[in-house]
Amino acid sequence: MGALWTKIALVGDGKVLATGSVRSTMRPAGPARELADVLLGKAGLPPGGGRMAATGVGRKNIPGASQLTDLMAFSRGARFLHPAARLIVDLGGQGVRLIELESDGTMSNFTTNEKCSTGTGCFLDIMAAALGVDPAHMGTASQNAREPAVINTSCTVFAESEVVTLVAKKRPKEEIVAGLNEMVAKKVVAMINLAGTKGDVLLAGGVAMNAGVVAAIERALGRKVVLPPEPNMVGAVGAAVSLGGSR
């Protein structure tokens, strides 16, 4: 249960069977259960069944679910999806978190930035709105950019004004989006470089679904990163796996 989205992963027999997401609300239990039943149906299972584990900021709001911390969930999920992962970079809706793992999967260090919205999913959503671009298309909108626009301010609030000014100056939208994706990547890579990397870097969180950001991160980092098929599901998969992984 993230700040912006509630993600559910159905795991059975050591496999991810189905996934889905809904917007997080103040009363999340109902929508979460509904979605869980839809996923069970997709997997050909009866509704109401299975065991549930919850993680994320809203984890306490799901009755009947066992709880685990975000750090535990991401560590478990990353290890399940890519056992060689040594650094998890969670690009969430309201924060960027880095979790360093030992080769046996235990957590060795943790850094976070949840004070500032720059570089978070929230940042990209606000910019998408200012640009009139569908947030889901921010990754592909930058594909044809000839030259990324330079965004001078780092604060989300100031950058929003800067984007509005660039639009007024008729700067092509793809170049502005490219500039914003670069900006997010720069902030994330600065954090990665501070943490140091010993092995595979796995990207998680909704922002990792933005191909433009991922490409910019790889460019700035000078190496490839591991991108799971559904980066936004890493925490949810980890929660499910924590229950034992099989039925």
């Binding site: 103040m26 309201q94 004070k115 500032c116 919205s117 929230c122 989300t156 007024a168």
Partner: protein, 264 residues
């Protein structure tokens, strides 16, 4: 001697006309897409108030972040220098040693020595959380006019704590507080306290010595003043027109230049 100062801020453009050492006219307008045009309009209203024409101005100095984009001024000056100059002019005999100037997109803390020269300063233009933009953004969420924020917050008995630092996160936090049915005045008082805490941290970087002068648009906000006084534990010196101190400083400097050049 007739001079003018224009302060081209991020949010408002301010202009002051100075005649023989006295402020005779001023103007304030929201910053439009064309800085030069806004500057001309602001100067026009300041001149009108003073009963003067543009040709009668001996020298014009511009300041503020847009200071270089107006063709009106013969010279530009940094906001820090202009603000200190303006503070010396409006609060000459009050023993001011610290200035807190909150702008729409930046905040300055300036330490003055005994002779009122700039000793040290700190500036935040990187993060909206410590600027006027913080109040503006949250007033928007609350649907409260910026000028009503101060009076409303004074009705609060128990200010709510805004825990987020980032303006964007604080916006979501305020939305949640509204949804929970919390009284508006308590939310607003909490907003002022949150900004006061950030300003105080910045002021302490340069050292808070009395008297403390508070200017810039948000200094007009009585709730903001109260929160800052509580946080710093001092009574603030607030000028009659906090928004035009920096523009006044630019006009004073223009007069000094003109005097040096032997003009009148």
């Amino acid at each position: 001697m007739i001079t003018a100062g224009i302060d081209l801020g991020s949010t408002y453009v301010k202009g002051v006309v100075l005649v023989d050492g006295a402020v005779k006219g001023w103007g304030v307008q929201p910053t439009g897409p064309d800085h030069d045009e806004t500057a001309r309009a602001v100067l026009g209203s300041a001149l009108q108030m003073a009963g003067l024409r543009l040709e009668e101005l001996g020298y014009i100095v511009s300041t503020g972040y847009g200071r270089r984009v107006t063709s009106l001024a013969k010279e530009t000056i940094s906001e820090i220098s202009a603000n200190a100059e303006g503070t010396r002019f409006v609060a000459r005999a009050l023993g001011v040693r610290t200035i807190l100037d909150i702008g729409g997109q930046d905040t300055k803390a300036i330490a003055l020595d005994e002779r009122l020269n700039i000793d040290n300063f700190a500036m935040n233009d990187k993060c909206a959380a410590g600027t006027g933009r913080f109040i503006e953004a949250l007033a928007g969420v609350l649907g409260v006019g910026i000028d009503d924020m101060g009076p409303l917050s004074l009705k609060s008995q128990s200010p709510l704590r805004i825990t987020s630092t980032c303006t964007v996160f604080a916006r979501s936090e305020v939305v949640t507080l509204i949804a929970e049915g919390k009284p508006k005045e308590d939310i607003i008082a909490g907003i002022h306290e949150a900004l006061a805490k950030r300003l105080a941290t910045m002021a302490r970087k340069v050292g808070v010595r009395r008297e403390v002068f508070f200017d810039g648009g948000p200094a007009r906000n009585i709730g903001m003043r109260a929160a800052l006084e509580k946080e710093l534990g001092v009574t603030l010196v607030v000028p009659e027109r906090p928004q035009i101190v920096t523009a006044t400083g630019a006009a004073v400097l223009a007069a000094a230049r003109l005097a040096k050049a032997g003009g009148q």
